[in-house]
């Protein structure tokens, strides 16, 4: 009986904070999405905000942008991080720590901070174009045209994501008991076989988690866009849904519309996650 009280007391603060800082605001934002509101007056418009949000050209485009970024980023970064994490596991603890530190540095830094370097490097006469001219290519206007801007945002984002992914993956690899490796070796498995039949299956939940986090994360890129591509890049071509919503809520002060867009984004993410779960279940059979 006493145990029950103690356990309830342990979980109570989390539940309380959850209600105050998440549940209540979500209810309020849900209600507000049916109102036309600009912080001063509000008027009930039913589903009007949702209809207008879905018809909004820039909102539609932001999803396309995010999709392009996902296609660029996720497969490449996941492959690189897996290779790095697997390579990392053969070294002793000290060199592991060193490489984790090096790889993780860029992902530690907020998009705002790292963006300051990138907007300088991607400039017309910046470092990247200098390098291109060494190879004999003409300078590319990274920040001015849509596709170069998307590519450069993908690279910025990837450089910031790989370290964290390596960290997750190698933490999982470290938690695999050494005995498994020894047993596999005794049974005559070489490294490739060990990776294929033991390591990768054990890492699969982590791969899934990382992919999910990436899908959610890419739609939420904000800091580097805010710094590198003022106001969403050329024709809003790198604006992610989150950046669009940010503009709607805090630049144009359309609270109700922003609330509706936020909820649409939430539903889209939920659907994506569900679809992924389905596909995985189907693939298992």
């Amino acid at each position: 009986m006493k145990t029950k009280v103690v356990l309830s007391a342990m979980i109570a603060p989390a539940i309380l904070l959850y209600i105050v800082s998440f549940a209540v605001p979500m209810v309020v934002v849900g209600r507000l999405s049916f109102f036309k509101s600009n912080y001063i007056v509000s008027e009930f418009v039913g589903l009007g905000n949702y209809v207008k949000a879905l018809q909004d050209y820039y909102f539609q485009k932001s999803f396309f942008n995010a999709f392009v970024l996902m296609v660029f980023i996720i497969p490449i970064s996941l492959y690189i991080s897996y290779k790095l994490a697997a390579a990392l596991s053969v070294f002793d603890r000290r060199s592991q720590g060193f490489f984790r530190f090096m790889l993780h540095l860029p992902s530690l830094v907020a998009g705002i901070v790292i963006g300051m370097v990138w907007r300088w490097m991607l400039n017309e006469t910046g470092l990247i174009n200098q390098l291109l001219s060494v190879v004999g290519m003409r300078p590319i206007w990274w920040l001015v045209y849509a596709w170069p801007a998307r590519i450069s945002l993908s690279v910025i984002q990837m450089s910031a994501m790989i370290g964290g992914q390596v960290l997750f993956l190698s933490a999982t690899i470290c938690s695999i008991p050494l005995e498994l490796h020894d047993v596999a070796q005794i049974d005559g498995a070489n490294e490739r076989k060990y990776n294929r039949y033991i390591l990768r299956p054990l890492l699969r939940p982590m791969f899934t988690l990382i992919t999910l986090l990436n899908i959610i994360g890419i739609m939420q890129i904000w800091g580097s866009i805010y710094v590198v591509f003022n106001s969403g890049g050329p024709e809003g071509s790198v604006a992610t849904p989150v950046y669009e919503i940010f503009l709607t809520a805090f630049e144009y002060s359309q609270q109700g519309r922003a609330a509706a867009k936020g909820i649409i984004l939430m539903v889209v993410i939920a659907l994506l996650l569900m679809a992924k779960q389905r596909v995985e279940k189907w693939a298992k059979q």
């Binding site: 603890r93 300088w120 470092l127 609270q255 939430m266």
Partner: protein, 271 residues
Amino acid sequence: MGKAIKLTLLIFVSIVLTFPIYLMVSNSFTESIGFLEMPPTLIPYQFTLANYQRIIQFAYFGRWIANSSFLFVVLMVGCISISGAAAYVLAVVKSKTTSVLYWVLLSPLFVPQITIVVARFIVLSKLGLTGMPAVVLMPLYWAAGVFLFRNGFKSIPYGFLESARLEGAGEAKIFASIAMPLTKPIVGVSVIMIGGTAFGDFMWQMLNLKKGKNMTLLVGLATNALNVNTILDDIGFDLAVGTVLFIPYIVMFIISSKYFVSGLTAGGLRA
């Protein structure tokens, strides 16, 4: 793959990834004039501390550092103890209620941050609380922590906790002196993740901290640097700001990397 190839791969990727940071740091010691002379130099063109002097001269510079550190400590202690305690309950008690509660408590992870930010901002503006410095503590509920800690606690061998229970330890004691110390690697990760919020959550802090003396280091410096709109002008100052904002991350990483130790539980249980 041989060990040499692996080493080469790791070194190569490390250099590529950290090169922008190196450029940022080295060029922050250059007079802005030096930048117009491309290509950018790998070592400072004309070594100068002028950019840093400008940063230190901000009236509230010391205050910003204090604010950020305070925020970090409060979030750190709060997030880890609150979500850790909740995760412990969710890991130990096996019932229908806890498994439902687990997913409920994780739900913020599946809601885009912007939706939450807009929602919180609206609630605060309805209550007339925007601009109150205390609201930057809103991220105190940490859903990712519940996930990480619960998984960590679940992976602790059953015998550890059970033997403590048999010796009469209460659940709170088991949590604090057995479960928590065994998940030190997760605490290590938390330092970085929570530090990322304290020193990197620009959107929420910028929206709420408008008064100079209430600002965090990030908001104070970044808004000043970003006001420099022409891209080439004053890039040295920009990069110096970037470098200063980068320091907390290095400190956090060094603190936390001590705890990234694998196999803590290995050999803990004797047959």
